[in-house]
């Protein structure tokens, strides 16, 4: 019998941050190949950092991504402080959580409303969705703005914030200055709750996998900047042991390195991992909203990540308000960082998952070596695995519908290809 082959090609993957290509090959109604391609060399910034002063790392790495610059700054300052034996506490620590809340709100809302919701409601994009759902899109834009305002105030400006430094901030704020954010945040908290309820009603594909979720875990709080790295399958390590437990592999079809757990394979980072591993440390309001949305603490369906992102947006609004409420202006905006030879490690929770930084510096503070592992390259293998299992369930669909389903499955991860590389072209090929 003649072999029946089909190829799905999507040369350009829409509604992800960056450009990528996905290629899927189907032979005799069986998936025979899945390749998520990333083209650009990801290592440039690591080389670029060598020879620079340790104080420059937060601002240089912030330029890797226009969506999550705060994450890069946070991982950079914590790694440098780790190298210098510093431990920034008190109001400066709170301000770092606050600016991260702003970035989570901005990034999550952009993805929920502009990139992901159109999939569930059957629109090609947010522009077409806005024609029928004007008020909802306007709510999304206003909600995102509440996050922008936090980043703009604490970061000195909205895009590529410049106020973060090793040891703290260049400038800190009075309680009165911070309180200005509260009014919009109270509205945003209500809007985020509405967002949870809105997304919970979407139609979801029936798709669950046995994932290994990896996230930071802190005993007292939902994680942003500190904690141990844990998983639902027994991982529990210090950040300094990251490279002993994870490995990066070059795969031929992608310029971004694939991360895997040594001896464990692919793993899953991001909102669902944080949620599943830290559910009890969400604020009561966020926890209750999640439960009402049908999430009882563990979610294994990546399509429902849009609800989890909404719950985290709600949490970020709630946490931002809590921090502003209890804030006391610190005596000084930063702790002095005195250079010394050393090596520092850090993992923080970027909107899309753990962002690992490691730096070696010499006695004058010059960077000798840098390593950066962004969340999207860690999820890349899991995305491919999802497609291996997901596509066979939908083989009867016409080509365009199947392609859309695959793109939606990728968008579950909100892949930020500008972090993993710059451009990602998605090319889904069906043979």
């Amino acid at each position: 019998m003649k072999k029946k082959t089909k190829t799905i090609k999507v040369d350009y993957l829409a509604r992800v941050e960056g450009e990528g290509a996905l290629h899927i090959k189907i032979e005799d109604d069986k998936v025979s190949d899945v390749k998520l391609k990333i083209f650009e060399p990801p290592r440039f910034f690591e080389a670029f950092l060598r020879g620079r002063d340790f104080r420059e790392a937060p601002d240089i790495t912030a330029r890797i991504c226009g969506i999550c610059p705060v994450a890069y700054q946070m991982s950079a300052v914590h790694a440098m402080e780790n190298a210098l034996g510093m431990n920034v506490q008190g109001p400066l620590r709170d301000l770092r959580r606050l600016i991260y809340c702003g970035e989570w709100i901005e990034s999550h809302v952009l993805h929920i409303y502009m990139l992901h919701a159109p999939d569930f409601l059957g629109y090609e994009d947010a522009i077409r969705m806005a024609k029928d759902h004007k008020a909802i899109v306007e709510r999304g834009l206003k909600l995102k703005k509440a996050g922008n305002e936090i980043v703009a105030l604490l970061g000195g400006r909205e895009i590529h914030p410049i106020n973060v430094r090793v040891g703290g901030f260049y400038k800190v704020f009075s309680k009165k200055e911070l309180s200005v954010l509260s009014e919009n945040l109270k509205w945003a908290r209500d809007a985020a709750l509405e967002t949870v309820r809105w997304t919970a009603k979407f139609p979801f594909q029936d798709f669950e996998q046995d994932y290994e979720f990896v996230a930071l875990s802190h005993p007292d709080e939902y994680p942003f900047n500190e904690g141990r790295l844990i998983s639902n399958k027994g991982l529990n390590i210090n950040i300094a042991d990251y490279e002993k437990n994870f490995k990066e592999e070059h795969v031929e079809h992608s310029n971004a390195l694939h991360s895997t757990l040594k001896g464990g394979g692919s793993y899953f980072v991001g909102p669902m991992a944080r949620f599943n591993l830290n559910f009890d440390r969400l604020s009561p309001l966020a926890r209750q909203a999640a439960e009402e949305a049908g999430l009882k603490g563990v979610c294994n369906n990546p399509f429902k990540s849009i609800i989890v992102r909404s719950v985290e947006t709600l949490y970020a609004c709630d946490e931002a308000l809590r921090i502003i409420e209890s804030y006391q202006e610190p005596d000084r905006p930063f702790e002095e960082a005195v250079p010394c030879r050393g090596e520092g490690f850090s993992c923080t929770e970027a909107p899309r998952g753990i962002l690992y930084h490691r730096y070696k510096i010499d006695e004058s503070g010059k960077i000798l070596d840098a390593k950066i592992v962004p969340p999207t390259s860690q999820n890349q293998k899991t995305i491919e695995n999802d497609l291996w299992h997901f596509v066979p369930k939908y083989l009867d669909l016409p080509q365009d519908k199947l392609t859309w389903q695959c793109e939606q499955a990728i968008r579950n991860y909100d892949p930020c290809i500008s972090c993993a590389t710059h451009f990602l072209k998605l090319d889904i090929e069906r043979i």
Partner: protein, 158 residues
């Protein structure tokens, strides 16, 4: 913001990434124009993320956006588009790593009735978007041309 007689009426937005060679051109032009900021003229740098652009131009009547483009035209060509009158092809400003970028922001704003009265786009045809801090000489020439042209327009409008 609300524009009145004593607040800026003209907004200039330079878009790009300083560490992506030709992609920096929008930001570099914005920096050259920064000195002419006044009560009526505001100059901003942006990464090109669409919803932030929509937020930035709120309240302004006249908005100029400068970005690098990659359309296959001659390196250093200057594209001028009047977005208040014509739709912008979504792939046109795709140098940015953002999927919800300049073109999407313009079309969503058009749908929501949030487009400025005048929205002029200046695209500089780039070629090298690799990591780095060097502009192609042709892009540098285009940068000088646009800066001069804008300076002239702004001084005649004052």
């Amino acid at each position: 913001m609300n524009v009145s007689n004593n607040t800026p009426q003209i907004l200039i937005i330079g878009i790009g990434n300083l560490y992506r060679c030709d992609d920096a051109v929008g930001i570099l032009i914005a920096r050259k124009l920064k000195d002419i900021e006044s009560d009526r003229i505001k100059v901003l740098e942006q990464s090109g993320e669409g919803t932030s652009l929509m937020e930035a131009w709120k309240g302004y009547d006249h908005v100029w956006i400068i970005d690098a483009v990659s359309s296959g035209a001659l390196l250093g060509s200057i594209h001028r588009l009047d977005a208040s009158k014509e739709s912008i092809p979504s792939k046109y400003f795709s140098c940015s790593s953002h999927n919800f970028g300049v073109a999407e922001a313009i079309e969503l704003a058009r749908t929501l009735g949030q487009l400025p009265e005048q929205l002029q786009l200046y695209g500089v045809e780039g070629k090298n978007f690799q990591p780095g801090e060097i502009l192609s000489p042709e892009v540098e020439q285009a940068m000088e041309l646009i800066t001069g042209e804008m300076m002239q327009q702004l001084s005649s409008s004052l």
